[in-house]
Amino acid sequence: MMRFFCILLLSLSVFSSQADVSTSPKANMHETTETPSVVNDALIIQASKKLAASSLRKMPAQVKQFAEIEHPKVRYVLTQLMNGDLYYVKATKQIVTREKDTDGSYKIWHGISKAALPNVKRSALKKVKTNNAIRKSIRGLLAQLDLTSPDKGVRLAAMQELLSKPSDETVTLVKKLSLKEQDEDVLSLMNSVIYVQQLSSADAALQLEAAKALQNSLEPSVKNALEKTLAATDIKNIELRKALETAISKIEQKRSIFSIIENLFFGLSLGSVLLLAAIGLAITFGVMGVINMAHGEMIMLGAYTTYVIQQVFPQWIEYSLFMAIPAAFLVSGFVGILIERGVIRHLKGRPLETLLATFGISLILQQLVRSVFSPLNRQVAAPEWMSGSWQINPIFSLTYNRLYIIVFALMVFVALLLILKKSSLGLHVRAVAQNRDMARSLSIKSDWVDAATFGLGSGIAGIAGVVLSQLTNVGPNLGQAYIIDSFLVVVFGGVGNLWGTLVAAMTLGTVNKFLEPVTGSVLASIIVLVGLVLFIQKRPKGLFPQKGRAAD
């Protein structure tokens, strides 16, 4: 599986036509500090006051005017406005920016000169209004400004922004810039822009040239432009039509390959979430044979631990997950041991009672969380490095959080495998699982092993909770959503077999994700469930049944 994943990633990097372009536009916010001419200084201040006083309706025109001023701070002010960080003093219409200090007070700066304004009160400020339309127009305007930026990533992003709707004036600009452009990626995008423009030219030869040149571009806007041209082309112009059709079908072909890879990635990522949720159960249910309906609540406790950690250390959000993983393991593991010692061990050999008792425990834990933390969902922040995506090419990107989760799930799996196979605890666990009486007579404390195993399984569930807190809501019902899936995975994979759990989780995830686009997600889960029932009919012990005497 690992090797397969590596091959997948490798093949992706071969396919990718562009390097990482995820550089945020923010990186370029504070730049040049050359001294502006005095005339432009007065202009920009006047224009900025107009900006502050403008109504939403008149704003786009004001923004455009503002962008036309030649002043090094234009870009900075517009970026602030786009990010919703621009304020103005109600009385003077003076634009300012502000930032929250660690002690909760606000630092306020002059919007243009960036001089600190210690005398301005926060209550005297009002936000400069924006909406989607304004943000969009600012993005377009910034893209034009960015075309000359020294940073390659910024130029790339700017070109992509312009590609969707190239105006004559931008194309002339791009043509001029492309002569000087050194970077290949930016240049190819620039050429795309020029060719897209050329597609709509009146000269059929130029069109033909453009159609041929564009067949390797994956930008969605290129495909749209090609299709539009095809629809507008005269039927008699066979040569051009053919060229357009080939270009489109070539692009289509590539897109379908990427969409399969994308689905595979989605499947594996769903699979890894299932794996994390189920692997703890694979130990408690698979190895110990305890039907633990409170398993989902162990996951929930892990997620709440993450929340508590973030509340206690609000300044370390970026590292909170690393702290939460061991903490969640300990909290859930401890609760797991309590449950085992307090309830489950008294019900040994009575599966029905165990099921009912643990179900009761799950309800108690849910209500406990409701009483302690409120029934509302809690906010768990995602660290910066978990957000965003790795843009491999214009139509294919991998989201970072899913990527990390796949890797992390596999790490947990390997770690667990090592514990069971190599450590003395693992040896004892396996011994007790295979033959309790024999293990006892060899002086293994089976009670202690039971508690440790249950704690281990519950602890892993807690770790799953940390991961899920990044993907879904942290609320009292978090666990319920995953308990059924977890049981499905364990039963499908074969009780008591970790490898089976891995394969089952990945299979279920991938099958689900390949079915979903065809059938819709409701029907997809039904089909998976029915398929599973039929499979269990045929092979009651799952994919990888335990063999030999241990199976009885």
């Binding site: 939403l56 919703g84 209004k129 909406n131 989607n132 339309a133 943000r135 969009k136 993005r139 969707s164 969605p220 806007s221 749209n224 432009a225 539009k228 969409s259 994308e262 689905n263 989605f266 990522s269 769903l270 979430v273 209500q367 409701r370 029934p375 509302l376 969902n377 809690r378 906010q379 922040a381 995602a382 957000s387 965003g388 995506s389 843009q391 139509i395 990107s397 989201t399 970072y400 959080n401 899913r402 993907l471 879904t472 809501n473 942290v474 609320g475 009292p476 019902n477 959503a481 994700k513 979903e516 686009p517 819709g520 997600s521 409701v522 889960s525």
Partner: protein, 427 residues
């Protein structure tokens, strides 16, 4: 000395008891039927608290008809059949004069037969799919024409959307709303190929390929908008995935009908900024009533960070209307209040007036707000006037000819204007 203290204490306790007893015989009972446990507790607990706050306020102002109000709170535990049982308990055993309750449509449908059989009175405070009008229920939330249709108009006219994704959770409200929206869009000339409909189960958390599909659907060069009837919990992973896959509100705006201030308060709103919601109320609306309401709420709940939302306003309006109607007719008798409340007007929280119409629905303004970074909404558009709630959609063939009018002489929840017949069934 000790004995004296004890005597005084016990007499105080006793007098308290006695006054309580006399009290109990002479109160107006208000039933509160909101889930306090289970999946819906997240939304409904707030409404229970709202009703309790309103009752407390009313009592401070002297109660109603010279009597104090007394809340009877029950917990239907997000269990739909239990809603019917608890309604029966409230009406038959507790003999409440009015019920404020329900959130999901399925719970309301479960309550309907009971409340009609025992002739109770219920105020339902949540936006819903319409296609219903019961004599015993007043719908203070939005009907589709007070939320969904204006939102689509806004996207079509102001944003210029020509391609539509209708995404919803798989149950009655999204299905019916999307049916209405689809008919509406087609009537506006949108082709089938430009409409993508997607349903997901409750609490769906893995949105990867749906978001990726939306991205592909939206990359054809036509302006694409998502109309989301995704319910509660599933929203947050949905928006997270949108953010992670780099879909911003500028490219593909999402307008949601179930995302309000309360839902956002449990969430890092960075990736949501600019996405839209359509409601009849936002906490950010500036008006004297709203300011007072928010201040009261924060004080009552003892948490300065708690937010207010649209269903709370609907509860507020419903309560005020009921109180006004009771005062108007001088009794809490269900039939008298039911007739008396029609035409009653109370100020809403957005600076206008809400009127109860003959079809048991309100006149409300429709607001579209953009999500801000602080989890609040900035109003970007609103209807010039209030919109009258329409119980039966004009865009569905099956309900085109139906109207609801509970005043004489029609007195019918589903009157067919073509055949001039009342189908007899009340909802």
């Amino acid at each position: 000395m000790q004995l004296k203290k004890l005597l005084i204490a016990s007499s105080i306790v006793a007098s308290g008891f006695i006054s309580n007893l006399t009290f109990a015989a002479d109160t107006i009972k208000v039933g509160v039927l909101h889930s306090l446990s289970g999946t819906m507790a997240i939304s409904e607990t707030t409404l229970k608290d709202t009703v309790l706050m309103m009752i407390e306020e009313q009592n401070k102002a002297g109660g109603l008809l010279g009597k104090k109000l007394e809340a009877v709170v029950v917990d239907p535990a997000s269990n739909w059949p239990l809603f019917a049982e608890k309604t029966r308990e409230l009406l038959a055993k507790e003999k409440v004069d009015v019920i404020f309750g329900c959130w999901t449509s399925v719970s309301r449908k479960s309550v309907l037969p009971v409340i009609e059989e025992l002739n109770g009175l219920m105020f339902y405070p949540v936006q819903y799919e319409g296609e219903e009008s019961s004599k015993n229920v007043f719908y203070t939330g939005a009907a589709p024409n007070q939320q969904a249709i204006p939102a689509v108009d806004y996207l079509m006219n102001d944003i210029g959307a020509t391609r539509w994704v209708l995404a919803g959770t798989d149950y009655v409200y999204p299905r019916t709303t999307n049916k209405i929206l689809k008919e509406y869009l087609k009537a506006k000339g949108v082709k089938d190929a430009d409409i993508m409909i997607n349903y997901t189960p409750f609490g769906h958390s893995d949105w990867q390929n749906i978001v990726s599909d939306i991205k592909k659907f939206g990359s054809t060069g036509k302006k694409t908008a998502v109309v989301s009837t995704i319910n509660g919990d599933a929203n947050i992973p949905f928006y997270k995935e949108l953010g992670n896959q780099g879909i911003s509100a500028e490219d593909i705006p999402v307008v949601a009908f179930s995302v309000g201030e309360e839902e956002l308060s449990g969430f890092d709103t960075k990736p949501l900024v600019g996405h839209l919601a359509a409601w009849n109320y936002f906490q950010s609306v500036e008006s004297d009533e709203n300011e007072a309401f928010i201040a009261n709420w924060k004080k009552y709940i003892g948490d300065d960070k708690r937010v207010t939302n649209d269903p709370m306003e609907a509860t507020y309006i419903g309560f005020k209307m009921w109180a006004k109607a009771v005062e108007k007719v001088g009794t809490t008798d269900v039939d008298a209040v039911e007739q008396g409340i029609i035409g009653v007007a109370v100020p809403n929280l957005t600076g206008g007036t809400a009127v109860m119409n003959a079809n048991h629905h309100l006149s409300k303004p429709v607001l579209i707000g953009e999500i801000q970074e602080d989890g609040q909404f900035e109003v970007v558009w609103e209807t010039p006037d209030t919109v009258i709630g329409d119980a039966w959609s004009d865009f569905l063939p099956s309900s085109k000819n139906l109207i609801s009018d509970w005043t004489a002489p029609v007195k019918c929840g589903n009157f067919d204007v073509k055949t001039a017949k009342c189908s007899g069934q009340n909802f």
